[in-house]
């Protein structure tokens, strides 16, 4: 795996390169500024597969650099691991919002580095495999139905693995300030079977955008889980009314479905579940809130998008 390390301290760059080599990752290129990182990415004939960014750098900081790298064609979907001192831990929220997929803390602990890099390596391999399949045949459905993929909307969306990392980072106490609401496109399989890769991805991205807009005042982050399921992580305050969100989504889906109808595409029908939330005293893993929200959606009977017996054949 070809790795780009960005840190303004040359000695730290040498250290992390050596630690990465000790973990089995020997192809490491290190630079000392955001500008040098952008140049390296643009000029490299053999693309990078993972990037490690220091958050606190003079000039362009790691968060701004992360945002710029997400806009670069060759790095848009790469695992980006933020490297941060404990004093900067609060900045990790901003880094995730800018597109980071994970983070690790300084001083470097080799076991932690190994764990994070193993995860990043898995993401990079999966991305490369999907890309290869898509290049081979863009007209058929080679995107696995059950698996998550990156949505094509703005930065209010997050890769599902990154969302899980983010929730773990928030930890049990801070998760009290958040709720998770899940959604299911109940005719996703039919859409998957009738649309090509890009059509299915676009449709799921449209749905994500509708969800993100309905939850915008709660700063929601939307993630596609796979199999037509979405999870939105939203701030608990201002209080979230599921009924109000459902009304907003219903209205937006009607507009979207009218447009799909003009394109001879079947409508999207969306179920919304009751929110998952954590109590202050809860010993379970922070990510359980995501599983709870997904389970609530499976049990929900509220269907949005103009559901009627007529279009029930879409399901």
């Amino acid at each position: 795996m070809k790795i780009l390390v960005v840190d303004d301290d040359p000695i730290f760059c040498e250290l992390i390169s050596a630690e990465l080599a000790a973990c089995g990752f020997k192809e490491v290129h290190a630079v000392n500024s955001g500008a040098a990182a952008i140049s390296s990415v643009r000029e490299s004939s053999n693309p990078f597969e993972c990037i490690l960014l220091d958050i606190d750098m003079p000039g362009m900081d790691g968060i701004e650099l992360c945002r710029l790298l997400r806009a670069e064609p060759s790095t848009t979907g790469l695992p980006i691991v933020m490297v941060t001192a404990r004093s900067e831990i609060e900045s990790v929220d901003k880094a995730f919002a800018a597109g980071a997929t994970d983070y690790l803390t300084k001083p470097i602990d080799r076991r932690e580095l190994q764990g994070r890099m193993t995860m990043a390596s898995g993401m990079a391999r999966e991305r490369a495999a999907r890309k290869a399949v898509l290049v081979q045949n863009t007209s058929t459905n080679t995107l696995p139905f059950e698996e998550p993929f990156q949505l094509q909307i703005d930065l209010s969306c997050m890769d599902y693995l990154a969302l899980q990392n983010y929730v773990l980072k928030l930890g049990a106490m801070r998760m009290f300030s958040y709720i998770a609401i899940a959604f299911q496109v109940i005719n996703a399989r039919q859409l998957y079977q009738t649309l090509d890769n890009s059509g299915f991805r676009d449709t799921m991205s449209d749905v994500a955008e509708v969800i993100a807009e309905a939850l915008v005042i709660n700063d929601a982050i939307v993630s596609y889980v796979g199999s037509g399921f979405f999870v939105a992580l939203a701030k608990r305050i201002p209080e979230v009314s599921v009924e109000e969100i459902a009304n907003q989504i219903e209205m937006k889906l009607q507009t979207l479905n009218d447009w799909y109808s003009d394109l001879d595409q079947m409508p999207v029908l969306v179920k919304i579940g009751s929110p998952g939330a954590r109590g202050i005293v809860n010993l379970s893993a922070a990510t359980e809130i995501l599983d709870t929200a997904l389970q609530n959606t499976k049990e929900s009977t509220t269907v949005l998008g103009g559901y009627s017996p007529e279009n029930s054949k879409c399901i």
Partner: protein
């Protein structure tokens, strides 16, 4: 030589790299101390000088990230404590200056 489990089959190679990095860090101590010393002088004139406070914090931040990773845990912890206090504006300069002086003394010892 590195196997797939991530364990170095030649731990000596990593030790060698760490020795080199420690030596580089030690030889950088004088320069780091001078950065802290210059900022400290500025803060004696104006204890709220934002530029000087930022220079102290930046240097401590860099030391905190590096020193603890290469086996200088005490220096790393001290620098991290200053970094966090300045970042969170927990104390005024007078409250953090003794810690900075202590860090400078440790850096001086290492440089000598």
């Amino acid at each position: 030589m590195v196997d797939n489990s991530g364990n170095t089959s030649d731990a000596g190679e990593m030790n060698q790299v760490l020795r080199q990095l420690r030596a580089k860090f030690v030889s950088s101590c004088q320069e780091r101390m001078e950065v802290l010393s210059a900022a400290t002088k500025d803060l004696r004139v104006d204890t709220e000088n934002p530029d000087a406070l930022a220079r102290v914090r930046r240097e401590c931040h860099k030391i905190a990230g590096l020193a603890g990773s290469i086996g200088f845990a005490a220096v790393g912890d001290l620098a991290e404590d200053i970094d966090i206090k300045l970042k969170q504006k927990q104390v005024v300069w007078a409250g953090v200056e003794p810690r900075v002086q202590e860090l400078m003394a440790r850096l001086r010892d290492m440089a000598n």
